[in-house]
């Protein structure tokens, strides 16, 4: 290519939607960077300013910042050492609950968070910071791995993977969908140079938080949960979305001040995860008081993992309330009773929901209809319940037509027809008997 290419590039610049950058400044920075001694010196200085050691690997390097915090370190309402009690509580609790640390020691939990060069999920976005903490009897051991430039990913992943022997018990916030897939993507590029990615297990606190608090929080982000639930306030936090921009600046000019805020942000995220894990566990284990809505969600969670024994007493205590949660709990109990063959109890619960709920939905009616049809052979009541369900559905259909509701409608009509036939046969049989 020739000189005129450069001219053409300038010509098309406007159309390339690229803002005219302050080019002189760029040039200057670049020429400085060319001087590799200066650059090396600056990099070493940056590492010192971050209190990080530089680890070398295959001509590459990574900054590793290690820190030990006391067990008494306060994180919102908890101290880091409270994790021991929580883990020990789990030994008496559910073994299969997604948050359960059953069979684990507290120091096996790895609290994990990353910062990336962008939110997109493609191959062009990098992880430039991994924060990792675990709690031992001697204190909180915290490590942060910082990528000094894009060509150092082998060193970066090598350090992180060699240090952490097992990744079976990562605790993250949205790690399942965000952090871990990115780790896998980037690891793919250096897989020939660094250890394999070990199998990983996961406690994703986003899912837990969403379950318990999605109705009360405007958005279930870690910072919101910290502030609203744990009462944690951050001073001078650098918002996560600034991270890519600040990191790009650092690449041009390796000055630790530029990324100091992000590193602190990442550190606080990791510490918050410890407190959040303790708090969520305490809620699920019943160690701290929860309001009705939280208790209902906790019970429902147990129900979904098939732990009826833990779900039922929770629902039972809620079911005596007159609140909406109380009514919803009764509906849940009805399902539980039915599953265990206590049809009378199930029916009582459903009837109570139908009586007290201002507008019970079609599902409740249908459940009642099913019991009447299959368990009690009372076709007439089954028909009447189904008709109520149909009425409810039609009202809803009038407001907005949707396909699923349409399908339900025809299923309900079929049900009524079938019940009608059964009822007729029943009547005929009893006439014959007479």
């Amino acid at each position: 290519m020739n000189v005129s290419l450069k001219q053409k590039l300038q010509l098309y610049k406007k159309q390339l939607h690229q803002a005219q950058e302050t080019e002189n400044q760029n040039r200057q920075e670049k020429s400085e960077r060319m001087d590799s001694d200066v650059y090396e010196r600056e990099i070493r200085q940056a590492a010192r300013d971050m209190s990080a050691e530089i680890r070398h690997f295959d001509n590459e390097s990574v900054f590793v910042h290690t820190e030990k915090l006391e067990l008494e370190t306060r994180i919102g309402p908890y101290s880091a050492g409270d994790l021991f009690e929580t883990v020990s509580d789990w030994q008496k609790g559910s073994q299969v609950h997604p948050l359960s640390a059953y069979g684990l020691d507290a120091d096996e939990l790895l609290f994990f968070d990353t910062e990336t060069t962008g939110l997109a999920s493609g191959t062009g976005q990098m992880i430039f910071l991994i924060g990792l903490a675990h709690v031992t009897s001697g204190g909180v051991e915290m490590k942060q791995y910082f990528l000094p430039g894009p060509g150092h990913e082998a060193a970066f992943f090598n350090a992180f993977l060699s240090d952490s022997h097992s990744l079976k018990n990562l605790v993250t916030f949205n790690g399942k969908a965000f952090d871990w897939p990115r780790v896998r993507t980037r690891h793919q590029f250096v897989r020939d140079q660094v250890p394999r990615l070990p199998a990983f297990g996961h406690f994703d606190l986003l899912h837990a938080s969403r379950r318990l608090w999605k109705n009360r929080l405007e958005s279930v982000r870690l910072q919101t949960v910290e502030r609203e639930i744990l009462g944690l306030g951050r001073e001078e936090d650098v918002p996560g979305k600034m991270a890519p921009f600040l990191y790009f600046q650092f690449l041009k000019q390796p000055n630790a001040q530029l990324v100091k805020g992000i590193i602190e942000h990442n550190r606080e995220d990791v510490l918050s995860l410890i407190a959040l894990y303790i708090h969520l566990s305490n809620k699920v284990l019943g160690k701290v008081s929860s309001d009705e809505e939280e208790r209902y969600e906790i019970a429902r969670w147990y129900l979904q993992i098939g732990d009826d024994e833990r779900a039922l007493p929770l629902f039972r205590r809620l079911a005596v309330r007159d609140s909406i949660t109380g009514i919803r709990s009764r509906a849940q109990m009805a399902a539980l009773y039915k599953r265990e063959g206590h049809y009378e109890h199930a029916l009582t619960m459903l009837q109570s929901v139908i009586r007290e709920d201002k507008s019970p939905n079609d599902h409740i009616y249908i459940e009642a209809a099913k019991l009447m049809e299959h368990q009690f052979k009372k076709y007439e009541s089954a028909i009447s319940y189904t008709e109520s369900a149909l009425e409810y559905l039609r009202k809803k259909l009038k407001e907005s037509a949707d396909e699923a509701a349409g399908r339900k409608e025809s299923a309900y009509i079929k049900r009524i027809n079938r019940l009608d036939e059964k009822w007729e046969r029943e009547k005929e049989r009893s006439r014959n008997r007479e």
Partner: protein, 752 residues
């Protein structure tokens, strides 16, 4: 009782029609077959026999052989010649013998991939081995995507999906890229102009990724008849190609007719509107239950024809038997039409060139073209839609009054001996190139000295690093930006920046009925325009540029609207110039800036085409930098003929060039513009500009610059061959001082 006329009756009638100016019969052809190749896997052989195939056409066998020899292949295949077996056989053979092998199929549209998937599935079922072939597109459900990435042996997708979804996530597709043996590119000829230039770059990115994972796939391409299949395939893939253009498939006898509508106004040499002629011809076949496809060149014409043709039937159901098919419809609507054509529920279809592609609608008996479709490849693709079973097929090309159509109607020998056009792409268009270097750097960092499309990428990478998109470190450029570049780059300018067309007739049920690109929106969906969709008229209430939505409302009026553009043109740099064989003239080529502003629109009455009113268009200017070729004349001419006459001559020349240009480059009408300027800003001379309507240019005006002497010769023949005195649509159009202008132009083009 009305008696249905047979095809023979109708042909006899046409024989007597004085407007049929030429009747060309293409004899049928027997199949040229050979027995199955020795090497063909017995399971494949058995599957073919099960489907009633006992032998292969010669081109199929040759393709099989060539691919297994490891060569990259381009096949020229007319409509319905069994081309899919040409690539499916070698691919399946390889996958059967080594199940870890992978093949990637690229189709220009989702619909085509879907069709091919179904066909492939049938074949696989008969083979009886669980081979995994999948389509991967925007509709693919999330839960099976992972399975496709891991285990899909044959993945069928489109270039857009490859560009925005597969390549930027290549780490999820390791097993595909490590084992990729074949890349099949179907409908190669559709990858032309801007789109083709983009796709060539997507393939460059694909190649970089393959070599990163250590694979070196073979290409198998198929194309409609074009002049340069091998060169085009090589430009698109960057590989040396082996060409197969022998076709062994049989065909029925075809009658190819030219219909030239009668002159209705002797003075003005105005012919009957070709649309009217098409309508009458199509109606004759449709009324007699003969499935007919009508091709028209613009969306507007498609819509007008549908609404006219639907009038021959009464009753809702009957009307539904004739429908339109064009871009801008939603996929569901298109699927319904394709199915209706196959099962015979739909009798007639009016289409833009969307149906030129191998969409599986079976074949119809009659094909009518509204005017010359613009290039020979299209002629034969469209004609290929006619020819079902053993019956004779009829193809009628109805000439419009434009100069090129009239030239073809007057020179049928020229038409039938014409070679198909060249397909041009310019993968090194700077705008396009830089977009894909960005995407490619996102996918894999560039090392110093790395090439992209055969040339070093260093300078481009440096530019991008100055732009803060890449970061240079230790000999490599890394993507260092929080954006996802493929999302901002659309391969098809039509989709780029697209506007939703929202029907608000029923305020309670507002719905999106289609979409359109920005340029289209500004010229068709300005406020107070009458927009026609599926034969229905809509009034444009509002064009929201920010939200990119046009709000339209059903109306019933007796006019349509047509917009005028004011164009400002500046030459930025002259790359080349030279003399022409004409007196006092020169040609030039270079970079230009074009600023277009829609100014006014006219309201035109349907029946009489008279202008019944106008309105202003209030829209911002569109600006682009592109390439242009131009012809400048000495001001001596101006003095000799006077300003008015000479201006008329220039406008007339533009009219001719606009129509003659497609003889030299294969492009869509929308890809080129011709603008006359009585005083061009750069040299102050009377000048006619021809420019590529895409930022940065795509090589069309370059080719026209080279072919300028021939182009002008053709323009002269068109003007000379026309019987009118003072200009008509078939030569220079209606211009001021028409008689003198035409004479002046002839002087201009004759004087050496």
């Amino acid at each position: 009782m009305k008696v249905r006329q047979s095809m023979a009756d109708l042909l006899a009638m046409l024989k007597k029609d004085p407007n049929i100016v030429h009747w060309h019969t293409i004899p049928g052809r027997e199949a040229a077959s050979v027995s199955f190749p020795e090497k063909l896997d017995w399971r494949l052989r058995r599957a073919l026999v099960e489907r009633g195939i006992e032998s292969l056409y010669v081109h199929q066998a040759e393709a099989f052989q060539t691919v297994l020899e490891g060569k990259n292949l381009v096949l020229v295949t007319p409509t319905a010649s069994g081309k899919t077996l040409c690539y499916n056989l070698p691919v399946l053979q390889t996958v059967l013998s080594d199940p870890s092998s992978r093949a990637l199929y690229l189709f220009p549209t989702k619909a085509l991939a879907q069709d091919q998937k179904n066909e492939m599935e049938e074949l696989i079922n008969e083979i009886g081995v669980p081979l995994k072939s999948y389509t991967y597109d925007g509709d693919t459900a999330g839960d099976i995507r992972q399975k496709i990435r891991r285990a899909g042996q044959i993945v069928m997708t489109n270039p857009d999906m490859l560009h925005s979804s597969i390549l930027p996530h290549h780490t999820k597709w390791v097993s595909l890229f490590e084992n990729l043996k074949y890349i099949v590119i179907d409908e190669l000829h559709t990858y032309r102009g801007v789109f083709g230039s983009h796709v060539a770059n997507v393939i460059r990115r694909l190649e970089r990724i393959c070599s990163y994972y250590g694979s070196h796939p073979q290409f198998i391409c198929t194309s409609a008849t074009i002049a340069n299949p091998r060169a085009h395939a090589e430009a698109l893939t960057g590989r040396k190609m082996f060409l197969i253009d022998r076709n062994g498939a049989p065909s029925v006898r075809k009658h190819f007719l030219f219909y030239n509508p009668p002159v209705v106004n002797k003075q003005l040499n105005v012919r009957e509107d070709e649309m009217l002629a098409v309508k009458n011809l199509a109606a004759r076949f449709l009324k007699n239950g003969i499935q007919t496809i009508v091709f028209a060149r613009s969306r507007l014409k498609v819509e007008l024809l549908v609404s006219h043709l639907q009038e021959i039937n009464s009753g809702r159901e009957e009307r539904a038997k004739i429908c339109a098919y064009r871009g801008g419809y939603l996929p569901l609507e298109r699927r319904r039409i394709e199915k209706g054509l196959r099962n015979g529920e739909i009798m007639g279809v009016v289409s833009t060139n969307a149906l030129e592609l191998g969409v599986d609608i079976g074949q119809l008996q009659v094909c009518i073209m509204t005017g010359y479709p613009g290039n020979m490849a299209s002629v034969w693709q469209q004609a290929g839609r006619a020819g079902r079973r053993k019956e004779d097929a009829v193809i009628i090309m109805v000439a419009s009054s434009n100069p090129l159509d009239q030239y073809m109607a007057g020179n049928p020998d020229y038409f039938f001996s014409r070679k198909p056009e060249e397909v041009r792409i310019n993968p090194d268009n700077l705008m396009i190139l830089i977009d894909h270097v960005k995407c490619s750097a996102y996918e894999l960092p560039f090392k110093k000295g790395d090439t992209f499309g055969g040339q070093q990428a260093d300078e481009l990478c440096e530019f991008l690093s100055d732009e803060d998109v890449l970061h240079y470190q230790a000999g490599k450029w890394y993507w260092m930006n929080d954006a996802f570049p493929a999302n901002e780059i659309s391969l098809r300018s039509a989709v780029q920046d697209s506007f939703a067309i929202v029907d608000i007739t029923d305020r309670g049920h507002v719905k999106v009925i289609g979409e359109m690109d920005r340029f289209g929106a500004m010229t068709m969906l300005y406020e107070d325009a009458i927009y026609i969709h599926q034969g229905r008229q809509y009034h444009v209430d509002e064009l929201d540029l920010k939200e990119r939505k046009a709000y339209i409302r059903r109306v019933n009026v007796n006019y349509y609207t047509d917009s005028d553009l004011a164009v400002q043109l500046d030459v930025l740099e002259t790359d080349d110039h030279g003399l022409l064989p004409l007196a006092h003239s020169e040609k030039g080529y270079g970079d230009v800036s074009v600023r277009a502003l829609p100014t006014v629109f006219k309201k035109i009455r349907f029946e009489t085409l008279e202008n019944i009113g106008w309105g202003r268009i209030h829209l911002p200017e569109l600006e682009m930098h592109t390439n242009a070729a131009w012809i400048s004349f000495s001001t001596d001419w101006l003095d000799r003929f006077g300003k008015d006459v000479f201006q008329g001559a220039l406008v007339g020349l533009s009219h001719l060039l606009r129509h003659a240009a497609p003889l030299y480059v294969m492009c869509d009408q929308a890809d080129l513009s011709v603008v006359p300027k009585i005083k061009a800003p750069h040299n102050e001379l009377p000048t006619v500009f021809v420019y590529d309507k895409y930022p940065g240019g795509i090589g069309l005006s370059k080719k026209l610059y080279e072919a300028m002497p021939e182009l002008l010769e053709r323009a002269k023949e068109m003007a000379e061959g026309c019987g009118c005195e003072s200009g008509c649509p078939s030569c220079i159009g209606f211009v001021n001082e028409g008689k003198a202008a035409k004479q002046a132009l002839l002087h201009l083009l004759r004087e050496r």
